[in-house]
Amino acid sequence: MNSGQKIADSDKTVRSKVRNMFTGQQSRQGMWLLPLLGFIVLAVVLSVQTQQFFSAENLFNLVAQAMPLIIAAIGQMFVILLGGLDLSVGSVISFTTAILALEGPGFILIPAVFLLAGLIGFTNGIVVTRFNVHPIIATLSMQYILLGITRMLRPVSGGTVPDIVISAVAGSFLGVPLPVFWGLFVILVAWKILHGSRYGLHLFAIGGGIAAGTTDAAHNFGIADKRNIILAYMACSCFAALAGVFLAGRIVSGDPNVGLGFEIDAITAVAIGGAQLSGGVGSLHGTVIGAMVMALLANGMNLANISPFIQTAIKGAILVFVVAFQSRKRMGL
């Protein structure tokens, strides 16, 4: 091989490497660089178009506002990595605010919220793994069951949540709103679980097997697949409950409708972040970027005075657009 050809070859590999970086075709983390670029472009456009956008105050506000979605989307990703979906996320959030507004002491209500969420996730996981119910059906039922219970507890919004929840969300430290710190902490914890532990790798393994149609593959490696799937649904519900705690702190009361539509927002955020809904491909940073893109879009549309009804329609369109244009090369054969 002469040197000219060598250069041409290395040129080719560089080009294909760059392409792969963007499409995420050769990575388990999926296509997250492209949404990051989209995020930057959106941010630049918004700061050029509107003066009030690019201020520390608005940016921190934006992050604080996006925090519940980021958290819920991270939870949703656990389940999506397994080729599942959790449609009960929004109901768990509403349910959580309703429980927190029960006028009890915080040290009882806050643990109770997470215990209940764990139980909800456990039930979802059992129904999916032991009774072989499709995740969409299992969690859709759970969505309605919780919706009913939440409306029983609190037919309209009202009540007050414990002070500690309010101060944890409303306060600020060194001029930075507390939710930003909480958010960073949650992201760190989630990173450790998903990308820095055996459990995380096993989630990818199980999801990869499911996506390739070889559902037993991970099991044959000695991985306790059913238990891990149940744990993922529990994690999803617990992250949703955490998002609920955040929202309760912001609205200071319980609201049966506050979580409405959160599941689709979370799924959209995960999909924008490059995760494949068939399972096995995705990343935490992608999901966070995806949620931030959603938050920017909402912020931008609000600043542009677009009607909330149109905004809802646009969000729905985004989900189908993103999934339809994902490079869904089936992993494996």
Binding site: G196, S197, G208, A211, A218, G222, M331
Partner: protein, 491 residues
């Protein structure tokens, strides 16, 4: 393993079979499909539990409750269906379920990759351990599975039809690895339908038939003929049917066909009454040519006439197969499970789907009962009934159903890739006879196969394909494996 028995439901898969593996030997396990080879190996791999009998290793009794326990006990299996996870890296696959962790509880990738490199090096491989398995070729995946066994320090390696999806060059590498393992004192079980591989690689052979042990012999005492006789229980005088002599008019006429922009153009002709082969080393363009006729490959140029009608090139992928069917041409794809059959549907559905597709989508569906029973009878399909799902059949019967679909649909030209892949000798012989009588009835057949012997025995004329063009044409009776290889390589 001694006196192993296993029954599934009412049917006995294994009846008191014993097998002894010695370190430093390659042990061939042979038998027709459904003879019980796979069941026996799955018991050894912990996928199934034996109903009776016991497994001993160095005198110690073994119980293998789950697949992962098999590896812990030093038994490594490379199954036909590969079991690696394609969205994980090589190193992650090697250590899955047993990942080393660092002080911080994160996965210790440094240790994993180092040990993976070492295991791969034992096989003489220099793959980057962080490569995703989805980026590897089938051959590389099999080598990774073998390396997986090496890393676990397995004493027994089971290779279940490892070469089914490999090309000649990769088979040579695999053979080298097998020899290396044998020299390292491992016991290897080698399952294959290909005689040449068995005689090249193995020391001892055990033959199973209908779940029973026929015998275990050193291969030095055997010839291919005596081995076949052991497998089918009779001398196989006529594996291949007689050739015909008369050919009719051309049904496929290809002129100045260029597969790639830079490749040499070629022409070929397929006539009624003949069986034509495209031979050569793997991946030299044989499949590309067939697939460009159905629209799955875009050739650089040329003319293709089917029964005098010119095919518009490139063929639209959405219309390719239908267009051929309208012309009375059936295309039988290589991978019957992935591309050919509807495994979950019944035999009757699989056969009649070709008939239904000739009618408009809203017309009432006939049951075509007579066509189905006729086809099953003429093909000698062994099945519980026409409603049996196709996945419950053996490989040979599945292949017959696939062929039957096209024969029932009354095509008179067949393009076939790998007519007998993963099919036992008895069924092979029947499929050859079917194809021959199809040709004698005025049909024409174009065959691609990795097995050169099959092409020589079955066909009338052979085109040798190399580097995306036809380099030689010969009569099958004059052809030998050596001649074909020579023609391919000297081009």
């Amino acid at each position: 393993m001694s006196n192993i028995s296993k029954a599934f439901g009412g049917s006995v898969a294994l009846d008191s079979v014993s097998l002894e593996l010695k370190p430093g030997t390659v042990h061939a396990l042979m038998g027709e499909n459904g003879a019980g080879k796979s069941t026996l190996m799955k018991i050894l791999a912990g996928v199934h539990q034996p109903d009776s009998g016991e497994i001993r290793k160095n005198g110690e009794k073994l119980v293998i409750p789950r697949p992962k326990d098999a590896l812990d006990l030093g038994i490594s299996t490379v199954f036909q269906e590969l079991s690696l996870l394609s969205n994980l890296s090589i190193a992650e696959n090697m250590f899955l379920g047993r990942e080393p962790i660092t002080l911080f509880g994160t996965i210790d990738y440094a240790v994993m990759e180092q040990q993976t490199i070492e295991a791969l090096q034992e096989l003489g491989l220099t793959l980057d351990p962080s490569t995703l398995v989805s980026q590897l070729s089938i051959a590389e995946r099999q080598f990774v599975e073998i390396a997986h066994g090496i890393k676990a320090d397995a004493a027994v390696f089971i290779l279940d039809e490892p070469t089914a999806a490999l090309n000649a060059a990769d088979v040579a590498v695999l053979n080298k690895h097998i020899a290396r393992l044998r020299d390292a004192g491992k016991a290897i079980v080698y399952i294959s339908h290909r005689m040449d591989e068995i005689f090249e690689n193995c020391d001892t052979v055990t033959v199973l038939k209908d779940g029973q042990l026929v015998g275990t012999r050193p291969l030095a005492d055997m010839t291919p003929d005596s081995l076949i006789a052991m497998m089918v229980g009779r001398e196989l005088a006529h594996l291949f049917p007689e050739r015909s002599t008369e050919v009719g008019e051309a049904v496929l006429d290809v002129k100045d066909f260029k597969l790639e922009a830079g490749s040499q153009p070629f022409s070929l002709k397929l006539c009624r009454g003949e069986i034509l082969a495209l031979a050569g080393l793997e991946g030299q363009g044989q499949q590309k040519f067939l697939r460009s006729l159905i629209g799955q490959f875009v050739p650089a140029g040329g003319v293709a006439l089917i029964k005098g009608q010119s095919l518009k090139l490139p063929v639209a992928p959405s219309a390719g197969v239908r267009q051929l069917q309208a012309l009375g041409v059936g295309y039988v794809p290589e991978d019957r499970k992935e591309e050919g059959l509807f495994l979950g549907l019944s035999i009757s559905h699989n056969i009649t789907i070709g008939l239904h597709s000739a009618h408009s989508a809203l017309s009432f569906a006939k049951d075509y009962l007579k066509n189905i029973t006729d086809t099953m009878a003429s093909m000698n399909v062994k099945a519980a009934g026409i409603t049996a799902p196709v996945h419950s059949l053996s490989g040979g019967n599945q292949q017959k159903i696939l062929l039957g679909r096209y024969l029932a649909a009354d095509v008179d030209v067949l393009f076939i890739e790998e007519p007998t892949r993963g099919v036992d000798i008895g069924a092979k012989s029947e499929i050859y006879k079917l194809l021959r009588s199809f040709a004698e009835g005025g049909g024409a057949v174009l065959v691609l196969s990795r097995e050169t012997i099959e092409l020589i025995g079955l066909c009338d004329r052979i085109y040798v394909v190399h580097d995306n063009t036809i380099v030689s044409e010969m009569r099958a009776e004059e052809a030998t494996e050596h001649k074909i290889l020579d023609a391919a390589l000297s081009a």
